[in-house]
Each structure stands twice: as structure tokens, then as C-alpha cells.
Amino acid sequence: MIRLVPNHADRIRRTAEVTFHFDGTTLPGCEGETLIAALMRAGVLHLRNAPHDGAPRGGFCAMGLCQECMVRVDGQVVEACRVTVTPGLQVARL
């Protein structure tokens, strides 16, 4: 198949893989990357339940505005799009 836009996936070099925890499961991530990206690559999109109707929600604006990707990290409620992955990070769904 003809590709005018090349696939660069193999040419991206990332930092060594570390693990972090999301609601008890251990997930891989790269140290220094944004938490929402690590969760997305691990297939975790459901980050919280809306407080009023309990419906599943996940990251939406990915730039710190919409507050949809709020998770609990080490006891603090933060945006997953504004937190970086560190080894052993404890993340919980809200």
C-alpha cells in the first residue's frame, strides 16, 4: 500500500519503562511522560465516574482545562494530563 505519510512509530525512542499502579493493577509507563498518555497506551480510558450520574468519564481536552481526567495520585486529586509518570506512582479512579 502506498503511504505518503510515513509510519514513524519505530523511530521514537522513549525512556526506560517503569511501572505504576492504577486501582490495584500494575501498568507500564515511561518515566517523565504524561500520566494520561501512559494510561491510554495501557488501554485505560475510564478514569472516573461523574459525581452526579455516575457515568464513566475519561480524558477529553488533554490540556488542563476540562477537568475530566481527574484522578487521585498519592492522595491528591489532580488532572492526569498534568501529572508525569514516576516509578511506583499510586493512581486511583475517582
Partner: protein, 469 residues
């Protein structure tokens, strides 16, 4: 003379703000540049995360790297990872309250340039709150910062050029595009060609994205819109229909990138007293300012997409123009540089405004939400809730907010107020510009109460005398 920390504070280190800061610093002024991201670049030239050791360059990554180098080589005092949550007048200058690493601080400046940029407009449709649906602009943030795609199989939908950029980046980063769905027709694009010819390199790049999709067999549905998203904890199926309703297509997909153009972020300027007017060609409500970014509020300047959506190229020239103007007002004149910047800005704006016109939400998109579709994501308020409030007499976004809390959730109304205003306009038979803009309230960004309160001793709190019985 004031004893301000700096001569000029610039809020927002995107193309406009960074270039304004560079122009003012080169004119010899003490300049502080504040941004909530870790590095300058804004959304369009967002820097890669520390986890990316190396990756192929793109036009955006190169432009961002050059900008970051220029800022680093300058005398600019950069305040990265700093959220501005409050701005106040102090004497004849400004006090800017910030939050960084959970700690508050403040900075004073004689003059203030706000380059707040844009945010995305997303027209609500059934299922748009399902995890896996992200904004087109949000997708670009993921690509640029983390070189990560939103899922294994993605539908890309919306207005304007961004759909093709996002689809192309998904393919470049190893993802699969299930389909591109855009309400724009090929005729809409052809109509924009005259305005686009001033930027042939950008036209060629866009043509390559579309050609790549077509050669690769990715369905590109012109004149179509996504009408429904299915999935519980994650997107599973996307339905698209032609704008006329004549044909329906279903796609299995685990993610959807969705967006309908950008709107200026005007809250900070609005809070400081700059009047707004509605101009759909500029993306909605825009603040009053001259071409040079001078506002009716003394010592306050605005530049870039926050004054109207004209795109990154125009933002660079507008930032330079505004930075030179603020420097000139501070006594540092710069000869013909302002005239050159103004001319370049007008030329670049022509292309940018044509893209803004293509990106505007089409009237049909406003019909997609059903009664059960959530309009206010924070408070889970549906179209039915909002319509009932309008029916009981709420004819402004502020009235809907008072009655229902639409706009009082954590996002501060950033993602619902445009939709609420459109519903009010449709229900009451007026134009969107006739529905007053929402009144912004501090803080500009969420701030923990403990950080906002700062350090204090309970014994120092004044206790009022009890009222006589």
C-alpha cells in the same frame, strides 16, 4: 516610578506570547513570561515530554524548538509550570497571583500582555462523554507531548483543517484511522483556495494529508457528521450520517477525535474590564483591542488567538507587534519594525481566517444533541435540563448558570457555555451574538483552597464584635 518586579509580564508562552516577550526583552525591558506548561510553545508548538529521548522532527517540533531556544537565549525571566489564577490592579501596575508546585506566589508588573490563546469548541452529540472521545486539539497535545495516539482504531471527525492533521499524525505515530468525517464539502475547501494561496507550503502539506488518506483506503466522508457514539466504559462504535441525512455509515472504533474549531480564551481580559463583541468570523466573543493589541484598559495589551482565531503564523507576527507596542509605550521605540510586523500579521491572518471560516460549527451540528445528551459535562446537565430552564425564562448563560449550575463545575464553563448560548439563541429566536457572554469568575484556573488562603495564624484572624442581642 513603581517598584514593580518587571516592566512587562506576558501571560501565555505560545507563539504570540513568547514572541511578544522576545520583542520587549530585545527592546531592553525587564520581561517575565508565565505559562502553565513546562516549556514555551503553547498548544501548537507544545514541547515533548521528558520521556521522549528522540523522535523524527515535524514542522511544529522544529518551530517550537527554535522558539524555546530563543527564549532561553534571551533575558526573559521564564516562569514555566506556573498557573495564573488571579490578576489584580495595584497602583498603576498589575499583581499576578500564581500557583506552582502547589505553592502560591505573586509577581508585579508595570504592563501586562495577555496571550491566552484559544480553546476548542466541541458540539455535543449523543455519547460524546464516553471515555475514548477526545478533542481534536486534545489529540494534538497528546501527539506533540507524548507521541501517543488515543486508541488502536480512531475515527477523526469535525470541521476545518484539523481533522486532516490529526488523522495524518495518528497514521504517522503508528495508529489506525477508521474514517475521517467532516461536514465540510470539497466545494467549501475550493472556495477557500484564493485566501490559501498566500501560504503554498501549508496548502501542499494539507493536500498530502488528504492524498495519503485516500491512497491508503481510509474513508474520507465529506459533508458528513458523527451522529452517535456507542460504548460504556470505552467507545465501541461510531455512527456517521451525511449532512442531508441520506446515508448512514457505522464504524467499529475504540476512540473518536472530535472538534469544531477554536474560540478565543477571553476570560482574563474580560475580568480586567476589556469589553467584548461577538464576531463569528473570529471564533466568537473577542475582546476590544487595536491591531497593535492596545486595550481600553490602561497598561493591558492582548495578542494572538485570544484576540480572534487567526492561527499560529499570524500569532507570531501579532505577538511581535504587540510586544513592540508595549515596549514603545514604555519608552523603547523600534523604528519600522512595527510596520513590518503589522504587514506580516495581516498577510498571515488572511490564511488563518479562511481556516477559521472552514472550522466554524455548521448549523446542522447544533441539531445532533438529543434531549438526553449531556451539555454541561461537569454537572451532567442534559439538553432537556437546559431547555427547561430556558423555557422558564432564563435567556442568558448567566441565568442558566444561576438556575442549574451549568458553568459552575470544575471546568468553569469552558466546555458548555457556547452550547448553552446556542440553545438560548435557537429557543428565543435571536442571533448567538445577542446572547450576552458568560461573566467569568475567579479563579482563572482551579486552585486548592489551602494554597489560595496561604500561610496564616488562626490567632491573627480578626473576629468581629458580636452583634448586640
Amino acid at each position: 516610578m513603581t517598584a514593580a518586579d518587571v516592566d512587562i509580564a506576558v501571560l501565555g508562552a505560545g507563539p504570540a506570547g513568547s514572541t511578544a516577550a522576545l520583542a520587549a526583552a530585545q527592546a531592553g525591558l525587564r520581561v517575565a513570561l508565565l505559562d502553565e506548561q513546562d516549556a514555551p510553545g503553547g498548544q501548537v508548538w507544545r514541547a515533548k515530554s521528558a520521556a521522549i529521548l528522540s523522535a523524527p522532527h515535524t514542522p511544529e517540533s522544529k518551530a517550537g524548538a527554535a522558539l524555546r531556544q530563543a527564549v532561553a537565549d534571551s533575558s526573559i525571566m521564564l516562569h514555566p509550570a506556573t498557573r495564573v489564577w488571579q490578576i489584580a490592579r495595584t497602583g498603576d501596575g498589575w499583581q499576578i497571583d500564581t500557583l506552582r508546585d502547589g505553592a502560591t506566589d505573586s509577581l508585579t508588573a508595570t504592563r501586562l500582555i495577555i496571550a491566552s490563546g484559544a480553546r476548542e469548541v466541541v458540539q455535543p452529540l449523543p455519547g460524546w462523554t464516553t471515555p475514548g472521545v477526545i478533542g481534536l486539539a486534545g489529540a494534538t497535545a497528546l501527539f506533540k507531548q507524548n507521541l501517543t495516539v488515543p486508541g488502536a482504531r480512531t475515527v477523526v471527525a469535525g470541521t476545518g483543517p484539523l481533522v486532516f492533521y490529526v488523522a495524518s499524525e495518528i497514521r504517522r505515530l503508528g495508529g489506525t484511522v477508521a474514517a475521517v468525517v467532516t461536514p465540510n464539502t470539497r466545494r467549501d475547501w475550493a472556495g477557500s483556495l484564493p485566501a490559501m494561496l498566500g501560504k503554498p507550503a501549508l496548502v501542499a502539506r494539507g493536500a498530502l494529508w488528504v492524498a495519503d488518506l485516500m491512497l491508503s483506503g481510509v474513508p474520507v466522508l465529506w459533508g458528513h457528521q458523527v451522529t452517535a457514539v456507542e460504548g460504556d466504559t470505552r467507545v465501541s462504535r461510531i455512527t456517521a450520517q451525511s449532512v442531508t441525512g441520506a446515508s448512514t455509515h457505522n464504524f467499529a472504533a475504540d476512540s473518536l477525535c472530535l472538534g469544531n474549531g477554536l474560540m478565543p480564551q477571553v476570560e482574563a481580559a474580560q475580568m480586567l474590564g476589556v469589553p467584548l463583541h461577538h464576531d463569528a468570523a473570529l471564533g466568537g466573543w473577542v475582546p476590544a483591542c487595536s491591531d497593535d493589541g492596545v486595550t481600553p484598559v490602561a497598561g493591558l495589551y492582548l495578542c494572538g488567538d485570544g484576540t480572534g482565531i487567526r492561527g499560529a503564523d499570524a500569532a507570531v507576527h501579532h505577538g511581535r507587534l504587540c510586544g513592540l507596542r508595549a515596549a514603545a509605550d514604555a519608552g523603547c521605540t523600534s523604528g519600522h519594525a512595527m510596520d513590518i510586523a503589522r504587514r506580516n500579521w495581516r498577510r498571515a491572518a488572511r490564511f488563518g481566517l479562511a481556516m477559521t471560516a472552514l472550522s466554524r460549527p455548521t448549523p446542522a451540528l447544533a441539531q445532533l444533541a438529543s434531549d438526553d445528551t449531556i451539555i454541561c459535562r461537569c454537572e451532567s446537565l442534559t439538553r432537556r435540563d437546559i431547555l427547561a430552564e430556558i423555557g422558564s425564562g432564563a435567556t442568558s448563560t448567566n441565568a442558566v448558570k444561576s438556575g442549574l449550575r451549568a458553568g459552575m463545575g470544575p471546568c468553569g464553563g469552558k466546555y458548555c457555555q457556547t452550547s448553552v448560548a446556542r440553545l438560548i439563541a435557537a429557543e428565543t429566536g435571536v442571533t448567538e451574538g445577542a446572547v450576552p457572554p458568560p461573566t467569568p469568575r475567579p479563579p482563572l484556573r482551579p486552585v486548592p483552597v489551602a494554597a489560595a488562603a496561604g500561610q496564616f495564624d488562626y490567632d491573627d484572624l480578626p473576629i468581629p464584635k458580636p452583634a448586640p442581642l
